[in-house]
C-alpha cells in the first residue's frame, strides 16, 4: 500500500488515494487532501458534508452514495456537485478519509 504524508503524519492510502484506515484521519488533514482535489477552501457547507460522511461511515461501515447524501445530509445533490465537482460521494469520501463508497452491484 502506498503511503502519503499530510501535516507530518504518514497515512496509508489505496491506489486511488482513499484512506485505508479512517482512524489515521484528522480534521487538519482534510484541507490538504481537498487542495489536491482542486478545492482551495473548505467552507462550512463542505464541512457539513465531510462530517456527515464520517458519521455515516462510523455508524454503517461504508460511505453513502450521492443519492443517499442528497436525501439525508441536508445538502441537495445539485449543491453537492457544486461543492465537490468531481463527484460528491467519491471526492467527499476521500477528503473525509474514509474508503471509496462501494457501488452496489
Amino acid at each position: 500500500m502506498p503511503t502519503v504524508t499530510y501535516a507530518g503524519t504518514q497515512v496509508t492510502v489505496n491506489d486511488e488515494g482513499f484512506f485505508t484506515d479512517p482512524a489515521q484521519w484528522r480534521e487538519d488533514i482534510a484541507p490538504l487532501i481537498a487542495r489536491q482535489e482542486g478545492i482551495t477552501e473548505l467552507t462550512e457547507r463542505h464541512w457539513q458534508v465531510i462530517k456527515f460522511m464520517r458519521h455515516e461511515y462510523d455508524t454503517k461501515g461504508s460511505g453513502p452514495t450521492v443519492r443517499v447524501l442528497g436525501k439525508t445530509s441536508g445538502v441537495s445533490v445539485k449543491e453537492l456537485y457544486q461543492l465537490f465537482p468531481h463527484g460528491p460521494a467519491k471526492e467527499a469520501a476521500k477528503i473525509a478519509g474514509i474508503p471509496k463508497p462501494r457501488g452496489c452491484v
Binding site: 452514495t65 443519492r67 465537482p85 468531481h86 452496489c104
Partner: protein, 392 residues
C-alpha cells in the same frame, strides 16, 4: 425443530399477477410475448399456503401486525418481507415529462417494454442512448444485455450503420467488479457500443432530446432507454424504524434477519445487502431464510448463513450468452459452473444462451414451487473457477 403443520403461512400481495421479470428484456425485440410472461400468483403456491390479496399500508413492528389498506390487519409471529424494489421514474427531473413513452422509455415494466417494442420498430437511425439513472437497480447486467441485443437487432434489420448505440452509466466502468468489467467492456467495444461513465443523470430533457448530468455534461439522443431510480415499497417508508432512506430494509448480511426486529426477515430485492438485486439471489436466500425462520420459531439460535451467492446469464446477442457466478467475497471469475464440467463462465457461448432460454421453464416449474436445481446449491461453488491465488 417444528413439526408438520406447526406453522401457518399467509402470503399478502396487492395483485394476483406474477411477472417473469427476466423475460422483459426480450419483449422490445419481439423475442418474448407479453402474455407469456405473466401467470396468476395464487396458482404458484403449494397447497396449504393462504393467499390474501390486499395492499399493505404499513407494518406495526411493536404490535406484530401488518396493517392493510382496506382497514383490516394481519398478525404474525414472523414476518418475511419479500416486497422487492419499486421504480421511481418521477424522482428524476423531466423523466416522466414531455417525450416520456414517445422517445424516452424503460423496459423494466411490462407496459414500458411493449411500448418500446413499437418505438424500436419505427426507429430507423440516430442515437439510441441506454442510461442507468443511479444504482442500485434490479439486474444490473440487464441494461448491458439490452445494448448487446439492440446491436444484433439493428444488424438483422440492416441499419446498424445508421444507429449510434451509447451506454450511459453512473459507475466508472461497465461493471464494478474488475475481471467482469474488462470482459463486458471488451464486448461493448467489439459491438461498437460507446460508453459514457460516471454520468449521474440529473435531468432527462425529452423535448430537447438530451440527458444532463449533475456536473453539467450532456448526452444527446433520438431514442432513450432509461433504467429509472429504484427504491423500496412505499409502505416501508410508512413503517417507522423498518427501512433505510431509500426504503430498503437493513438486515444481517448472513442470517437475513432484519435489524429492526428479530422476528422480521427479508428475502430478495427488498433487503439492503451488497449483492445484485437479482432473482438468483432471492432463490439462494430462500433456503437460508426458511431455515432461520424455522429455528427462530423453535426458539433455537439462527445457524443458516447466506454467502451473497449470485448467478446471472448475460445475453450477448446472436444466440450467445455469458454466465457469471459470484458472492460477497469472490468476484465473477472465468472457469466453469457449477463445477469443472459445466457451463463456461464469463465467456460467450451458445450453451449459456440455451441455459438462459431453459431458465424460463425452470423458473415456473422448479424455482417457484421451491424445488432444488440438481447440483446448484445455495452456496457459491469454488470448484471449476479460476481463482487468483490472493482470493479467498
Amino acid at each position: 425443530m417444528l413439526g408438520d403443520g406447526a406453522a401457518e403461512i399467509v402470503v399478502i400481495d396487492p395483485d394476483d399477477e406474477h411477472v417473469y421479470q427476466p423475460g422483459l428484456l426480450f419483449v422490445p425485440f419481439g423475442k418474448a410475448e407479453p402474455d407469456s410472461l405473466t401467470r396468476p400468483r395464487h396458482r404458484q403456491f403449494r397447497r396449504g399456503i393462504a393467499f390474501r390479496q390486499a395492499a399493505v399500508d404499513r407494518v406495526d413492528l411493536d404490535g406484530n401486525k401488518v396493517l392493510l389498506a382496506d382497514g383490516t390487519s394481519a398478525g404474525y409471529d414472523v414476518l418475511v418481507i419479500a416486497t422487492g424494489a419499486r421504480l421511481l421514474p418521477e424522482e428524476t427531473d423531466g423523466l416522466t415529462g414531455p417525450g416520456w413513452l414517445e422517445r424516452v422509455f424503460t423496459f423494466y415494466t411490462l407496459d414500458g417494454a411493449v411500448a418500446l417494442r413499437r418505438a424500436l420498430a419505427e426507429f430507423d437511425g440516430g442515437r439510441l442512448a441506454v442510461a442507468v439513472m443511479d444504482m442500485p437497480v434490479k439486474c444490473p447486467v440487464a441494461p448491458l444485455e439490452f445494448c448487446f441485443l439492440a446491436d444484433a437487432y439493428f444488424r438483422e434489420r440492416g441499419i446498424r450503420d445508421k444507429v449510434d448505440l451509447t451506454y450511459v452509466t453512473p459507475l466508472d466502468g461497465a461493471f464494478t467488479k474488475p475481471v467482469c468489467n474488462r470482459q463486458l467492456s471488451g464486448l461493448l467495444k467489439d459491438k461498437g457500443v460507446g460508453v459514457i461513465t460516471e454520468f449521474n443523470t440529473g435531468e432527462v430533457d425529452g423535448a430537447g432530446r438530451r440527458l444532463v448530468s449533475y456536473d453539467g455534461r450532456e448526452v444527446g439522443f433520438d431514442l432513450a432507454v432509461v433504467i429509472p431510480l429504484h427504491g423500496g415499497q412505499s409502505y416501508v417508508e410508512r413503517s417507522p424504524g423498518l427501512g433505510d432512506e431509500l426504503g430498503f430494509v437493513p438486515v444481517d448480511q448472513q442470517t437475513l434477519q432484519s435489524k429492526a426486529r428479530p422476528n422480521v426477515f427479508v428475502i430478495g430485492d427488498a433487503a439492503d445487502i451488497p449483492t445484485s438485486k437479482a432473482g438468483s439471489v432471492a432463490h439462494f436466500e430462500g433456503e437460508v431464510v426458511a431455515r432461520n425462520v424455522t429455528r427462530y420459531l423453535a426458539g433455537e439460535p439462527l445457524d443458516a448463513v447466506f454467502d451473497g451467492h449470485t448467478n446471472c446469464f448475460i445475453e450477448s446477442g446472436s444466440g450467445k450468452a455469458l454466465l457469471i457466478d459470484f458472492n460477497y467475497d469472490t468476484e465473477p471469475l472465468t472457469g466453469r459452473f457449477p463445477g469443472r464440467i459445466g457451463l463456461p463462465l464469463l465467456r460467450q457461448s451458445r450453451l449459456n444462451h440455451l441455459g438462459k432460454l431453459a431458465f424460463g421453464w425452470l423458473y415456473w416449474h422448479v424455482l417457484l414451487p421451491g424445488r432444488e436445481i440438481p447440483a446448484v446449491g445455495s452456496r457459491m461453488p469454488a470448484a471449476g473457477k479460476h481463482l487468483p491465488s490472493a482470493s479467498r
